[in-house]
Point group: C2
């Protein structure tokens, strides 16, 4: 059930969802994904979401297996995008479900109780339903819109929406989309963590990008 | 472990894998997939594999959920191609894993003990390894090659290979690829069931195609 009071494990989860890095198979800095992820965790990233829309399951599994030990060693959470089969098989902590993925309630009924389920929405009512269906956290965005994708209109929802969704759902939320050191404080003030892909994976210095975001959130550890 | 002796549940499984129909989202006869699958089971199909390489998980899940009651009512097995997450969430009996899918051993460790795992191979040694890793049955092919795909050479392995893989693995096998009423008896004599996609899904009369195959196997019920 949804509720305004965050209970123990959820309180912990909120801290562990301060800054989630979504992976890209080939980071722009030219170093390997495992090297970049290790740097990001060292720099303070608290969660990693393995994501590769083009890889077959075997490839996503191998990537997740390769990253798992260093993510665990760094005390970060590991979730897999879309596929809870890959997440379970690779020993990840959870799955992140988008709108074209399996329904949250069906996943909740199929996985261990402590397996994390994240889900995406930008709507407070939908957020409440997803929490009731068993989601542990929500990804909300695009907070600041997608950058220059031809043919897509700017659909920025703003940090106020992140807060509204989070409050309606009563579970932790991550703002995602167009977040930079310049605007991240607004999202942090809303009480949400952040999820970043391009801001880190496309950066010449991924660890520096993580530190800049955490500094700007005033939550750098 | 592999072994030449088929035990109880596997013996049952062999009978339940006599004729597996792989689904196509839009059967050529023009009727709906659920209508066609219901006809095929009525005609004697013993197993259905839901398969749609292009659908997102939500679509594959919805298709599986829609087909499940009529497949169950007909006493047939229901497996989902590639994704055990979709299979578990939709209450299917099992998953069929191809070479680009999750490793069998990792899946075996992640699913209930009675959840069926099928895997594809055309190699006896690989079949033995897959059985040892936890596969319950094997798909072997293409038995008679793929039909007129430009750029792909004919890779027919023949019914002898199906038998060799099945014997090496000690678990039931399904021959797949180019099987018709004219050649199906050879596969049946090898002791294997069959899996068909185009022969049924592209047929003007899918139930008639199932009956013709079963008649030719001399195993029509």
């Amino acid at each position: 059930m949804s509720g305004a009071v965050l209970r123990g494990p959820q309180q912990d989860l909120r801290a562990r969802l301060r800054l989630m890095v979504l992976t890209h198979p080939t980071p722009a800095c030219g170093r390997s994904l495992p090297a970049v992820i290790a740097e990001c965790i060292e720099a303070g990233a608290t969660a990693i979401q393995v994501r590769d829309k083009t890889a077959p399951a075997a490839g996503l599994y191998e990537t997740t297996r390769r990253l798992a030990p260093l993510i665990r060693a760094g005390g970060a959470l590991l979730v897999v995008n879309d596929r809870f089969d890959v997440a379970l098989a690779a020993g990840a902590d959870g799955v992140h479900l988008g709108p074209d993925d399996l329904p949250v309630a069906a996943v909740r009924a199929s996985v261990p109780a402590d397996f994390l389920i994240g889900a995406s929405t930008d709507d407070p009512s939908a957020g409440r339903r997803l929490a009731a269906a068993g989601a542990d956290y929500l990804g909300v965005g695009a907070v600041y819109g997608t950058r220059s994708k031809p043919g897509l209109e700017d659909e920025a929802v703003g940090p106020g929406r992140v807060e509204a969704v989070m409050k309606a759902a009563g579970i932790p939320a991550l703002g995602i989309g167009g977040i930079t050191p310049r605007n991240v404080a607004e999202v942090a003030r809303a009480g949400a963590g952040i999820a970043v892909l391009g801001a880190v994976m496309h950066a010449p210095d991924p660890a520096g990008a993580v530190r800049a975001l955490l500094d700007a959130m005033e939550l750098r550890r």
